[in-house]
Every structure is written in C-alpha cells, then in structure tokens.
Symmetry: C2
Subunit: 468 residues, 2 copies
C-alpha cells in the first residue's frame, strides 16, 4: 500500500477539519430503520403499475381539454378515493383547445414516396386539398437561421437538427428548439409550412408531436414532425441535388375554450403549520397513444409513494398533497390554475415526476439552510437504490414551476433519459414501455423522500427564488 | 490432461477408419486461396448497401402490380446494367392486384380508444361508413378453432396467437397460421370480420401486414392486423369481463389484372452445358415502407456477390443468373412465371435471400452425390465468417420453390431471425434496419458460395425432389 492510498483512506475515515467545513458531511447521515423499511417494502410495490395499467387500458389517450381528459379525471377521482386518500377532488378551469385533423405528406418529385408525419400542437392548417411546394432542406437549426429569407419564402421548410440520447435528457432542449420556436420563425420569414425531423432518439416510423408556439401576431403555418426515418429519407433525397417537391395535408384546428382540470388528493399531516409537501405528475397526455410513460407513470409513482406513507400506520407531520395536473402538454394551464388557487398556502417542498419510468439515477434538491440536513438524510437513505446526490437542481418541472417560483424548495428525481425520447410524444407511448422493476425503484425513491421530508423536524423553506 | 480429452483430440487429428466413413469428412476441405481472397475482400463491400440505399431512397415502396413496382423494375434494369451485368432485362407477366384503402378501428365501449391496425392482403372491405359489432376475443388460434360457431357468427373475431422470436424464424409459421388461414376460416364460420394480433415480435405501434387467403367460394371478410400493443390492449380490456364493441373501417379493393415482372441479369459462364447457378431475392415490397430488409437486402446481397465474381478477372465455369423476382409478397406470381419461362433450362443450384440482412449464422444445402464435396469446400471456406453447416434444408424460399421442385439443388444461408420479425411487413422496414457490417458478412458468404459453386468441376444435380 502506497502512502498516497493510505492518506486517501485516512481522509475518508477521519473528520479532518478541512473536510468538516464542506457543505455535505463526509460521514453519511444515519438511516432511520423505519424509513429503510418503507423504502425496501416499496421495491415490491404493485400500486403504481396498477394505476398505469388501469389508466392506459380504461381511459387511454387524454388530450387536454377534450372529453377524454374529462374521463381521465373521473377515473382519477374514483381511483384516488378507492386508494384511501382524503380530500379527493377535481378543480376545473378553462383553456383553449387544439385538435388534430388529417395528416398526410408525400414527396411528389423527383422520387415519389409517401411520408409519415404528425402535426405539432398549435399547427396551422393547409387547405383541405393540401399544399404543394418546393422543400428548402436544412440539416440543422443553425443552417436554417443563417439562410437568407429568399431561401425560405414560399417554400416548405425542412429542419433536421437531430437529437442524440443523453443521460439527463438535456439534448431535448438543444435539438428541441427546432420545434419550440422553428415554425414561428419560419412563418415570420414567409415559409408556407414547416416540417421538422422528430425531436426524438429512435429510428421508428412513429413521429413525435409536441407543442410549438407562434409569437403574438404571427399567423400559424402548418407545422409537423416527420418520423426520423422519413427525415433521413428527405435528407438522402436532397443529397442527390435535385429540387424536392412535397405535398402536405394537415387539417388541425383550434376549437375554442373548453374545460380541463387538476385532480387533487391528500394524506393529511398532524401539524398544519408545518406546510404542504406537493408531489405529482400530469394526467393529460398527447393524443397519439395511451401516455404510459408521459405521464401515467409520474402520477402513478407519486400516488403510490404517498399511499405507502398513508398506509404505514403513522400520520406524517406534514400534509402530503398529490396533484395530477391537467393540460401540461399543451402549455401548463393546470400548473397556473393550481398556483392561482393554492399559491397562498404554505408549500415547503414541491417535486414532480415527468420523465418516464426508467431507473432514477440521481437526485438534486434546493433544500437549504435549516433544511440542509434533510437532504443529507435523504442521500444516505437512497444509496441502496443506486441513486447519487449531486449539487444544483431542485424544482425542475413544468407543473411545479409556478409554485417553485414563489420560493418553495424543490426535489428532483432524475430518471435515465436514454430511452425516454425514443417514444416520448409518439404513438409508441404505451404500457409496453414501462418496466415494472424500474417503476418499483421509482416508487421506492419517492417513498423514501416522503418518509423523510414529510416528517422532518426541521423548518423547511422558504428558499431563494431561482429562475429556471 | 485426462485420457478422455487426449482421445478426443486424437480423434479429430487422425483419419481413423470409423470417422472416414461419415458423410462429412472429419478433416476440413482445404480452402482455395483465390476463394479466401474473394471472401475477405467482400467484407469491405459497398455495392450491396448502395443498392439498398438507392432502391429505398429513389423508389421506396413497390407493391406488386402497381406503378411503383414498375418504377422499381426500371430502376433495377438501369442499376444492373450500370453494374456491368450481361443480358439484363425485365420479363413481364400479369397478375391480380389488391390495394389498401382507409383503415381505422376503435373500441366503442366500454373503454373508448382508437386502435392502430392495417389490412391484410386480400382483405375484404367494410361498408365505407364502417362496421360495428361485438368482439369475440381468442388469445390463441387453438381457442378460436375450438370455439363453437355460435361464439363467432355475427362477431368481429380477434385472435392473438402471439409470436416469440426464434433464431431460425420458425415461429413465423407457428403463429402465422392465424393470418394465413384464420380469416378464411372465420368467414366460413359466419364472422363479420377478423382482426389478429400482428404476426411479429416487436412492441411498437406498427402493425404487420401480409397476405391472407380465402378458399375458393368463400367471400372475403374484412381482415386486419392490430399492432402488438393494440392487441395486448384488447386482451387487457377483455380481461375486465365486459363485452367489447369495435368499429372497423377497412376499404381495400381488388383492382383487377395488372402488369408485374421479374428482372434478370447474368454473369455468363464459360461452359454452357455446366448449367445455371440461380441467385436472387424479390424486388417487390409491401406498401407500408421502403422494404429495406424485405427484400431490398436480398436483391442487393445476391447482386453484389455476383458482381464480385464478375469483377474477379476470371470467368466462372457456370453462368450466374441473378433474378430480382416480382410480386413475391402477394403470392409468388414472379416465381411461377420464371419457372414457366425458364424451367426447361438446366439449373444446377438455386439460392434465395429473403430473411433480411442480419448475420448469416448457418448454411444448409441439398448438394448430393457427386456434388457433396462442393458443400464440404463451402463449409471450410465459411468458417472464418462464423457460419455453421448443418444437415437438412437447402432450397427454402418462395421464389426458388418452383425451380427447386424440378430437382434443382438448393443452398440456404440463414440469417439470424431474432430481429427480423420486429419490422417485417411494417412501416418500420426502412434503411435504418440494415446494419452495414452485417450486410457485408452476407455478401462475403454469398461471394464465397458463388466462387466455389459456379466454378466447381463436379457435376451438380439433379437432386431428389423434396416437398417443402
């Protein structure tokens, strides 16, 4: 054994003053045996899978603001009551609703082929008989932005901007810009329509939908995502050097204001002054599939974990509030309605599950000051689940965003995103994508968190507001 | 070292009389260095991928008997001429043509959900407005066959009969019976329509089409395949115990006789009396995708291998004839037309590639009598490609079937079928499914075979006729 190794081991074993000054204590916090027992029992959970299976089988797709989402709320209220939660209710609000129409496309020349695509949320419509025009092909968003308007005006614009899988899903933001704002920019620059390569990491003929946003005053143009193989085909055709002509038929429409809503359930705490621990996911889904990973899994994981605390025989100090948000996919109307109704109540922690159901590999939190030891205890308790703790983050998520913005601490459990964007927002988001064992690991992580956070004797929050 | 090990090693090394009597020689046949050089050079082949890429990009889907298949023949003739083949021509014939129409389905009650399905070839049509009826759910073909007619009459029949992946693809036959003959039987028993679980091994929303056959005198009913997740959904709904009602819209139609054709190209041999070595695949594809693995790969592999012999600088003894058959998918009209026109010519070997482009793991042949040593030399030469030789087989394949049936020896290269039925006959059969390295291993195997077989000094065939 070299001296260097010996020194390293001693550094880990002994509370040297230099190490004691670090924010995270070098000696792991002890794990409460009751918490460990709840955590380990959750690895046998069947409640979460039962919720995902039931919602996807008995309701299926539940596009925000439609009667399908209303059926999902009815199902959710009945399910949460049957699971034994208190104060179960649906809180309605109204929102503008966009619905899909026909969607077809083909290359007319020089190589006639049908294409598989799907309209983006908020897409404008072509004439019923379709729109035929030359395609301006850009392999990246940068090429599109740098091209002169003359290359765009009067054309159907294609933008590739391929997405690679990443552990933390951050490539979604990088590639996704083509979808989030591309069509609005193309509209402003005179394009007739825009088709993008799906913002996804698969190679199947299942295009990825998702919202796009047109700036105030810009008339929406038809906007759609091609499946990844179809996008590659366009690029291969373009590489032959002849002009491509595409025919596009997209007939979605805005149908005006409709009712949506959030579904809420609680495990009442023993100390009302200690604040609320808010957990949840979103109940709505895109219309192409049954939304098993986006986000039946999120509502299932958080409710199953809350039920485990409820059924543990010991009332938690803080109220655990489970919120199944409405209309996340199409613009977060549920999140804003929740904050409007409940923002004045004392929330101490908010945590959202909306990245599927694969293994949680990391947690981050914004537990600060007097609440920092809570994060330490959580880190220790999550070690057997293979979850690492890193600095930064905490409070990510569209649905908890408005509440976190008021100074509420956030806790993020990051699932591996390597497979998530294979099926995100596609017709393939079905029950087959959920691995029951991985789902149980999620439930165990959330159960551990709730057991520690809801009962923590420390004061939690408020925290410094962060901008995400 | 034990005596048993020692004895085993000696048995391999020495030509004991007992071993010398076996059909396959225990000492591997030597490998001609010229053959080995051709084989190894083929592992760098780019011609096959170029053919697959070109056909899928510049033509795309090529349903038998349609103008798309005609464009594929035009493309094929030009490509084979450009590659330097002799006697390149298209041989036309006429055939009945079935085309897809609208295809939609939904569960109307008790759990309203849209389903993803695709019509089977030869399916009958529903009224334009659709057909709504109760679903009779059978998880296996056996349950369907054993059910009383009263459970079938007036219903939409669902049959599961799930397929598992197998190395040799044999599960396709076992599960596929539900597709091949199920709708005909259901029609005879009074069913209004039949939907099956796709005969496929994936879990994507990409249903698998394929022909079904209605017996003479039985009026075709609407018949379609649900994607595997949709089939599982039906079964999960049925497990809730309430009657399921389905609405089905399928509007395919028979459009009468149209022109199809085979495309032929040759590497002329030096000895016309030595016979023809026939290799090929099928040029047509299903209409849902670009047919990259089924069967652009097969036509590409066989043509690329033949070109390598042609370009080797040494004229082979036997003529190598490459046939890109028409209309394989819909009933083998091309195969029968070829046998009708060319059955009287002396074919000595026939070999077909129609199981995708994954690694070849095995070869089998019906090389017999004086030609048995040819198989031995082939076995030796294929060892470095990781290809094993087993008894039995030889002459499998729909397109070479009619020629093999006349007493021609067959050679089969079996690709691994473990992934093939994930995308076979689906919208996912695109260029992404082809692994260029595996494709090259195929080309190397076929090049090796042609180098040995086309030049073999032995007489080959005829062989005893086999029934497949």
């Amino acid at each position: 054994m070299t001296n260097r190794f010996l020194a390293a081991i001693l550094a880990l074993a002994l509370p040297f003053p230099a190490l004691a000054q670090r924010a995270a204590p070098p000696v792991p916090a002890p794990v409460d045996p009751a918490v460990a027992a709840l955590r380990d029992a959750a690895l046998k959970d069947d409640v979460a899978y039962d919720i995902v299976e039931g919602l996807t089988t008995e309701v299926g797709q539940r596009l925000a603001g439609t009667e399908a989402e209303a059926r999902a709320r009815t199902w959710a209220v009945a399910k949460l009551k049957a699971l034994g939660f208190q104060n179960v209710r649906s809180e309605p609000y109204r929102m503008p609703v966009w619905v899909r129409g026909e969607e077809r496309a083909e290359i007319v020349s020089p190589f006639p082929q049908k294409l598989v695509l799907t309209a983006l949320g908020n897409s404008g419509a072509t004439p019923d008989a379709g729109l035929t025009a030359e395609v301006a092909v850009f392999k990246t968003f940068g090429e599109f932005m740098n091209a002169p308007d003359s290359a765009i005006k009067g054309r159907i614009v294609y933008v590739g901007n391929a997405m690679a899988p990443t552990q933390d899903g951050s490539s979604y933001g990088q590639s996704g810009v083509a979808r989030f704002v591309g069509p609005g920019i193309a509209a402003r620059r005179g394009a007739l329509a825009m088709v993008i390569r799906s913002i996804g990491t698969d190679t199947h003929r299942t295009p990825h939908t998702g919202v796009t946003n047109f700036p105030e005053g810009v008339k929406p143009i038809p906007a759609a995502a091609l499946s990844v193989p179809d996008a590659k085909l366009i690029e291969a055709m373009a590489a032959r050097g002849k002009p491509l002509t595409m025919k596009l038929v997209l007939t979605p429409r805005q149908i005006g204001e409709r009712e949506s809503g959030n579904v809420i359930a609680e495990v009442p705490g023993s100390d009302p002054a200690a604040g609320i621990v808010l957990v949840g996911g979103h109940l709505d889904s895109w219309d192409l599939a049954t939304g098993a990973i986006d986000d039946a899994s999120g509502v299932a994981i958080t409710a199953a974990a809350a039920k485990r605390i409820m059924d543990s025989g010991r009332r938690p100090r803080r109220t655990i509030r489970v919120v199944w948000f409405g209309s996340e996919e199409v613009g977060g109307f549920g999140a804003r309605d929740y904050a409007r109704r409940h923002g004045a109540e004392r929330h101490v922690v908010a945590a959202e599950s909306d990245l599927g159901a694969d293994r949680v590999w990391r947690f981050q939190s914004s537990l600060e000051g007097s609440a920092a030891p809570v994060a330490g205890r959580l880190a220790s308790a999550l070690v057997p689940l293979g979850i690492v703790h890193t600095d930064g983050g905490g409070g990510d998520g569209a649905d908890i965003g408005p509440i976190v913005a008021t100074g509420v601490a956030g806790i993020d459990f990051n699932q591996s995103a390597l497979r998530y964007f294979d099926t995100h927002h596609t017709a393939d988001d079905t029950l087959d994508r959920v691995d029951p064992e991985m789902l149980r690991q999620n439930v165990a992580a959330w159960t551990t968190m709730l057991a520690i956070v809801a009962d923590a004797p420390e004061e939690i929050g408020p925290v410094a507001r962060k901008s995400h």
